[in-house]
């Protein structure tokens, strides 16, 4: 397991290094925006990572609620993966907003605007930060159930974020991908996007696997401590 993890990390770093090389030195720049358009290759993978890990969090939260009274071992594993994926999603969301803000300052002349895409994204980030705070500061057996319910409601904002540029007129550009005819980037730019997408998703899987292992260890330590306390009575 340890060897597999190191191999995965080595492969991930190799893919990310190549992704950086292709993004910076191989693919051409967007003619309208120039060099700043290269932010796309870190900006879009961050949003994809966020969508993937929040979806994992949703599935694990539902699994936890379904299994918590029937199979506690599996339910706890689902809960451990839920918290690991939520943290990773929050990290990706923060990076997406930060890189987007830097891009906006150069392209639009502003750091932030309260348009539908940016506002719904900020709300999404705050919902998952609240989810993590509830987990951090609530004690007792109901903490995991409460967190799972928040996660399920929180995920409702993900499709709203995705559809916001279709439903409302926004400062943020109209959908670049899957936006219908005459949308999308030039095919010559796609290799940089694919390499960075693969690299950052692999990075996310690596970090989530570590965080999941840490959470499982913590759960075992808590169980041992509870058991020892019961025996001491």
């Amino acid at each position: 397991m340890k060897l597999l993890r190191w191999l995965w990390l080595a492969l991930t770093l190799a893919v990310l290094a190549n992704g950086f090389r292709v993004a910076m030195f191989v693919v051409p720049v967007d003619q309208a925006q120039g060099e700043i358009s290269r932010i796309l290759y870190y900006h879009v993978p961050s949003w994809c990572g966020m969508a993937v890990f929040f979806a994992v969090n949703l599935i694990c939260s539902i699994t936890y609620l379904a299994l918590r009274n029937r199979n506690q071992g599996r339910a706890l594993k689902a809960d451990a993966l839920a918290v690991a994926s939520a943290e990773m999603g929050v990290v990706y969301c923060l990076i997406g907003m930060t890189t987007g803000s830097l891009w906006a300052r150069a392209a639009w002349g502003i750091w932030w605007t309260w348009d539908a895409r940016l506002t719904t994204t900020l709300v999404l980030w705050l919902i998952y930060v609240a989810y993590l705070l509830v987990r951090r500061f609530t004690v007792g057996p109901e903490m995991r159930t409460l967190a799972a319910v928040i996660a399920i409601f929180g995920y409702l904002d993900v499709p709203i974020v995705y559809m916001s540029t279709r439903w409302w007129r926004t400062q943020h550009p109209a959908p670049v991908f899957f936006g219908g005819p005459n949308t999308g980037v030039d095919p010559s730019m796609m290799p940089a996007l694919w390499w960075n997408l693969a690299g950052w998703l692999a990075w996310g899987i690596f970090v989530v696997s570590l965080r999941y292992a840490a959470e499982c260890r913590q759960q075992q330590a808590d169980r041992r401590a509870a058991h020892a306390a019961l025996e001491a009575v």
Binding site: G34, I36, L102, W103, R105, V207, A221
Partner: protein, 40 residues
Amino acid sequence: MNPMFHRHLILAYAVTWVIHLVYLTYVVLKWRAADRPRSR
């Protein structure tokens, strides 16, 4: 070319790595802390 374009591009890439590495450090610390026996 506007020099701000280069500055913001480099900043965006740097910020991405910094946030990821800070979070990785937090995860590794948590992983090691969970391995340690509890103080009584």
